[in-house]
């Protein structure tokens, strides 16, 4: 899904973490807690994000409540995706065969580098140095725009919010509303600075901003010979590709140029049009709270005299088959990128999208990035912990991804992957040792009770040492009671002697 209007992108920009000019790669991102710290301190960003997400959250809830068969739709979505994932090879071969039969060419890319090489080769073969783009998560994931730029090819984003991000030399911070961290005056400044044909005296009214971008983009649509898109769904049995968007700019890209190159994660398949029907209901309601998606484009290969004469489909693995091998984690591949989980997430609303260090922010990013990239880096190892496990994401997910379950599963993988926190390991082992034995627990409780006069005044502790300081920075801690429950139970025979004494 794509699309936003300037007045919906109502927030302030977050600190950006660019490593270098025009190369917003995600290498060497800081861990989630340290990136989130800066965002939390930015009260204006927090206020804007809270407002934007709670508005869309309420509208989604209304749109979903209209359907009495929502639970069935959610279950169907889950089952269709699970069926595809269990038979992925079969459906991919079917798709390849049907796309080829319809005049398209299918390419297989193991990873980001291979996908970028394929696209670069295809663009170079046309002799063009400019491409127009439909907003696409997959091409952000592989860093296609940057790879093209290195080869002297300029990619123009045509989704309005994506254009704002691109012109601002920035990173997207939301799946559906990539410039959710920008407000209107930010956008005007970006346009005046980086859009060559921006009218002088441009104001920050949504209508003027939309008009400026419309004129800017129209020129690109009319001159571009090559378009690059992502794919929302691929219907295997007809070889049809489907893109959903809200502005119509995607439709221009998909129909006007001579060559169309679509990059698609291998998990985007559905078996047939009947299956697609489920998602055409659940996706719009979950993402934009609309009953029906405004612009749904579907094409099958090439049609002489109608649309691009050349069509290439790049099938991208990039860590997906490795994710598929994990019995618990694989459900993340059901995701249809609706962004409902972001909009209900209390952590996302405070930390913002950039802290997740990938094109996939929020709860889905916290389970997807560490799987497709592996948990080798600081940020990927910290993402499974970027959640209070409140479960709001699972509740709204239209394909029933149990995100908390996957987070807990990935936490174990992160811990098992190596000694990142040796102190924590020691503390957890000690706690485990104590809790494995009621006798040892009772002894520890007695020690805690004995310490109570040392630690706190007036029933609370205002300062704790070491890692526990993070608690008392903002919260008092309770003082241990004079005796534990089990000590009381043993002393009073479960309270019976106390009652007798009354």
């Amino acid at each position: 899904m794509t699309g936003t209007t300037p007045d919906r992108a109502t927030s302030h920009r977050a600190t950006s973490h660019h490593e270098g000019p025009a190369m917003p790669t995600y290498v060497g991102m800081p861990s989630f807690p340290s990136a989130a710290r800066a965002a939390v301190a930015d009260t204006r960003l927090r206020g804007n994000l809270a407002h934007a997400t709670s508005t869309i959250r309420g509208r989604r809830a209304e749109a979903v409540a209209e359907l009495d068969d929502w639970a069935a739709l959610r279950e169907s979505g889950k089952q269709i995706k699970d069926h595809v994932l269990a038979n992925l090879g079969h459906y991919l071969r079917m798709l390849e065969e049907r796309v080829t039969a319809a005049g398209g060419t299918v390419h297989w890319a193991r990873d980001a580098d291979e996908a970028n090489r394929i696209v670069i080769g295809l663009v170079k073969a046309t002799g063009e140095t400019e491409v127009v783009k439909v907003k696409s998560m997959a091409t952000q994931e592989i860093g296609l725009n940057e790879a093209l730029a290195e080869q002297g090819v300029t990619a123009y984003e045509t989704d309005l919010a994506e254009l704002i991000v691109q012109l601002g030399d920035d990173r997207p911070s939301h799946i559906l509303v990539p410039a959710i961290h920008r407000n209107r005056s930010d956008i005007r400044d970006i346009f005046l600075r980086s859009m060559p044909d921006a009218p002088e005296g441009l104001s920050d009214s949504p209508a003027e901003l939309a008009e400026a971008s419309r004129r800017h983009l129209r020129a690109k649509f009319l001159s571009a010979k090559v378009a690059v898109s992502g794919v929302n769904f691929a219907v295997a049995d007809t070889g049809t590709l489907v893109v959903l968007e809200s502005e119509g700019n995607g439709r221009m890209c998909l129909t006007l140029p001579e060559t169309l190159i679509s990059v698609m994660g291998v998990e985007k398949l559905v078996p047939s049009w009947r299956d697609l029907e489920v998602f055409l209901q659940s996706l719009p309601r979950s993402s934009t709270a609309e009953r029906m998606n405004p612009y749904t484009s579907a094409w099958t290969g090439v049609t002489p005299g109608d649309g691009p004469g050349e069509f290439h489909l790049v099938l991208l693995d990039n860590g997906r088959t490795a994710t598929l091998a994990d019995e618990v984690g694989r459900q993340a591949l059901r995701c249809i990128r609706c962004s409902a989980c972001l909009n209900v997430c209390p952590v996302y609303a405070r930390a913002g999208g950039h802290a997740y260090g990938s094109p996939y922010p929020g709860p889905i990013g916290a389970i997807l990035s560490p799987q497709i990239r592996g948990i080798g880096s600081e940020v990927d190892a910290s993402l499974p912990f970027a959640s209070s496990l409140c479960g709001a994401c699972y509740e709204v997910c239209p394909v029933a991804i149990d995100i908390p379950e996957v987070l807990v599963h990935l936490r174990a993988r992160a811990v098992e992957s190596g000694p990142r926190h040796p102190l924590e390991r020691t503390a957890m082992n000690a706690a485990g040792w104590t809790l494995r034995s009621p006798t040892r627990l009772a002894l520890a409780q007695r020690a805690a009770s004995a310490s109570r006069r040392l630690v706190g005044r007036r029933g609370r502790i205002r300062r704790l040492p070491g890692p526990l300081k993070a608690w008392t920075d903002t919260r008092d801690a309770p003082v241990p009671p004079p005796e534990s429950f089990r000590a009381w139970w043993a002393r009073t025979d479960g309270g019976r002697t106390e009652e007798r004494d009354k």
């Binding site: 989130a36 301190a41 209070s388 709001a392 809790l435 526990l468 919260r475």
Partner: protein, 237 residues
């Protein structure tokens, strides 16, 4: 019915008053509860922090300690959810015991069939439904139904009640700034009600919100659901 109390390691160590209230309440309703001394912890902290290997022996210990009871009742929605959702996945033999575990409001309403427990609590109270009680255990409005029957109570609605308070176990330490920001919003909502008591079905969330309330000098005390339900005119909490 042979009922066991699973008090939880946090209540056992830090909040014995909640365990005592459970005993008092159930006894008043005519049910004796046993406290099997072999119990320790459900393993949630270890599992949710990524230490599955440390959680497994605790799950086994739990299943052994409670195997012989017909029902196990606990004053923690979060631990009840951990037991019912995860124990069997970690240790298949633990399934049978896990299925007999109830959170207090479930036990009172679904098993004992009471909503008016004869309590008296003449204070202005607001109720925070914890995430695990709502979205994992799905206790719905059971705690509120129990609270509405309490004599003398002035129950006021908490704005944005379903929002997470930001505790999340070790999340409160690992992502302290985000956790504190979530807590600050919860505290503001609690204060806006003018309640003198914040009630919940989990002392760990109350420890978190309560710690911020006392730090802010808010003058709101935190009281577990069991303690309000155990309070009577003769024997106030």
């Amino acid at each position: 019915m042979k009922i066991a109390l699973f008090v939880t390691c946090v209540n056992d160590t830090m909040y014995p008053g909640t365990g005592k209230a459970m005993v008092r309440l159930l006894r008043r309703l005519g049910h004796e509860v046993d406290f099997p001394m072999a119990q320790t912890c459900c393993g949630q902290m270890h599992l949710n922090t990524g230490y599955r290997d440390q959680a497994v022996p605790l799950v086994k210990g739990f299943a052994e300690a409670f195997a012989s009871y017909e029902a196990v009742v606990t004053p923690s929605a979060s631990c009840a959810a951990m037991v019912r959702d995860s124990h069997a996945r970690l240790v298949p033999e633990a399934a049978e015991t896990a299925a007999k575990v109830y959170e207090l409001s479930e036990f009172l309403i679904d098993v004992l069939g009471v909503t008016d427990v004869g309590a008296h609590y003449p204070h202005r109270v607001t109720y925070h439904p914890t995430c695990h009680s709502l979205r994992m255990l799905r206790v719905g409005d059971r705690p509120l139904r129990l609270l509405r029957e309490v004599g003398g109570i002035d129950l006021v609605e908490l704005p944005e009640a379903n929002e997470c308070c930001g505790f999340g176990g070790t999340f409160a330490l690992k992502n302290a700034p985000v956790s504190a920001a979530m807590c600050a919003d919860k505290v503001a909502n609690v204060r806006s009600t003018g309640a003198s008591t914040l009630c919940s079905a989990d002392n760990s969330c109350l420890m978190h919100i309560g710690g911020a309330l006392t730090r802010a000098g808010a003058g709101v005390r935190t009281v577990h659901l069991a303690e309000i339900l155990a309070a009577t005119e003769e024997d106030p909490a």
